[in-house]
Amino acid sequence: MTATPLAAPAPAVRTAARRPALVIGTTFGLCLLVAFGTMGLGAVRVPQPHAIEALFGHGTPDQIRIIRDFELPRILIALLVGGSLAIAGAVIQGVIRNPLAAPDIIGVTKGAGLGAVILLLAYPTTAVAYLPVAAFVGGVTAMVIVYVVSYSGGGTTVVRLALVGIAVSALCEAMIRYVMIDRQQGIGTALVWLTGSLAGVDMSAVYQFVPWVAILLPLTVLYVHKLDVLGLGDDLAEGLGVAVERTRRITLLLAVLLASATVAVAGTLSFIGLIAPHMARRLVGPRHAVLLPAAAGIGTLILLIADAIGRGANPPIELPAGMVTAFIGAPYFVYLLSRKL
């Protein structure tokens, strides 16, 4: 973000001839390629091209079962979760006008995680059905706390938001640990889930998640132009006809709900909501009509690759995808910080 007017234009003349359609098309093409290419990489290997054949019903019953019941749901969840996280990140970054404001930086992910862990460990029998609700409550609460605490003098700053976000995240983390020590049964699942993992998801997880995306995504799309204008600052946005406060509250809520829903399904996957929208912005520019699909594609791609590495790196042990995204994301985050602060 640049506050104008400031002096010193960059010397290099860079024209930004952009082809958003090409970028979005290529990204989703790569997603398909990675999805099919890495199929069959799991604990029980199904070598190519048998894996793809098995998807279409050719092969041994075992192969078909592995691909259809274990691998296909993971790919679909990667698409839904990676895309949703990236879109949530793009919206939050746009609303708060801060490239570091991602669901996991500002405490939403950890808050949702805390909500879910409390439910998982305290009420293990009723857990699954109410997991999204618990994650929503945790995520929204964390967001509200971070926003209120870092809000001062009519706005938030990069540093305040990041610092308060880190503090709230740490607090949630501590409370997660307390709950886990207090209630030890089921701790193994909770641990894997907290790192963020697509292991063991089945089609029921897909069916559980689809409605949230089907509701939240179209609502978010209705706000693409308003999100664009919001990036120009409150006064100019208001002057251009956007009811700023209302728009900010609604879009933030949509993004937090979307991010929390992913936590309910795949645990706390880190960094996707931060880096996918950032990469997308560099490729297609800041207009949300193209930024959101581009970010969704990149988020999906990152998660597919991370999950494939997790499955294939050290079989039969699976590394949680969230661990891999952290390995990719942390250096990128440091790079971002070195540029932005």
Binding site: M1, T2, A3, T4, P5, L6, A7, P9, A10, A12, V13, R14, T15, A16, A17, R18, R97, P99, V221, L222, V224, H225, K226, D228, V229, G231, L232, G233, D235, L236, E238, G239, L240, G241, V242, A243, R281, R282, G285, P286, R287, A289
Partner: protein
């Protein structure tokens, strides 16, 4: 008269800026608000654009109370360029200018022909056609300010309010921006209202000057008639000579530096050797 404010009480945060301030913006002219820091000129401009809700008094736009319009309707009638401008990361000039079409656009539809025409026209009159694909954060100060003006022009309103559009610009860029606004007033009949810090620039470009101090309108009118050394003393508390611009004939204010004024009047200075 399309835009006016009467008996406005303006608060900013918890500071009372004005208790009873009235202003009538002349149509088709360039108006400049001048005054010292904290005089309420920016606050008044914000109230006229409905960015700030007055505690009392009315802002009237096109014969109706400004609060009776929706935010979007206000944006179709008047445009405001605030003082602090934020350009989204890596946005290009054309993308930025296209944002100016927001008040006319539907919820998710793309740009229509009339939107594209308005964008082309704004790029053309501001001389930004060649820079359209350039990222805004790589422009010079003057170019950047012209890009912002192109954005509010694309909005397509005849009323344009600008809060210190020349601040932070060096003198050549100040002239560039003010000449552009003058041209828009003459060629396109735009009503321009701006807050300016530079009195001489205000006198050069304004048809009507509004001089404020402590939330009170001390003078208003043609700069040639209202700008006097007394007014400058009342408004800014400094002495000055008022001259005439050699070519344009506009009044010019030359401040008289007075850092030692209190010394000259002090008893020490009158001690005369016997």
């Amino acid at each position: 008269m399309r835009l006016s404010g009467s008996n406005l009480a303006l608060h900013y945060d918890k500071v009372i800026v004005a208790t009873d301030l009235s202003i009538e913006i002349p149509d088709g002219q360039v108006s400049c608000l001048i005054g010292p820091n904290g005089s309420g000129k920016s606050t008044l401009l914000r109230a006229l654009a409905r960015l700030l809700r007055p505690k009392a008094g009315d802002v009237v736009l096109d014969g109706k109370m400004i609060n009776s319009y929706s935010t979007k309707e206000v944006a179709r009638r008047l445009a405001i360029l605030p003082q602090v401008l934020i350009s989204p990361e890596s946005i290009t000039v054309e993308e930025l200018v296209a944002y100016g079409r927001f008040p006319q656009r539907r919820t998710i539809a793309g740009l229509r022909d009339e939107d594209r025409e308005a964008i082309e026209w704004s790029l053309r009159v501001t001389g930004m056609v060649e820079l359209r694909d350039r990222p805004v954060d790589q422009l010079s100060g003057g170019q950047r300010q012209r890009a912002w003006i192109a954005l509010v022009l694309a909005q397509g309103t005849d009323l344009i309010l600008l809060d210190e559009p020349t601040t932070f610009l060096d003198i050549s860029f100040q002239l560039e921006v003010l000449e552009l606004l003058k041209h828009l007033n003459i060629a396109e009949g735009k009503t321009i209202v701006m807050v300016l810090h530079d009195i001489n620039m205000a006198c050069e470009y304004a048809h009507k000057l509004f001089a404020l101090r402590d939330g009170t309108m001390l003078a208003q009118g043609d700069p040639r008639e209202v700008l006097t050394a007394e007014l400058i003393r009342d408004v800014f508390g400094i002495g000055s000579h008022i001259l005439e611009h050699p070519t344009s004939g506009a009044p010019m204010c030359i401040p008289i530096p007075s850092p030692h004024e209190h010394i000259a009047h002090s008893p020490v200075a009158v001690t005369v050797p016997v």
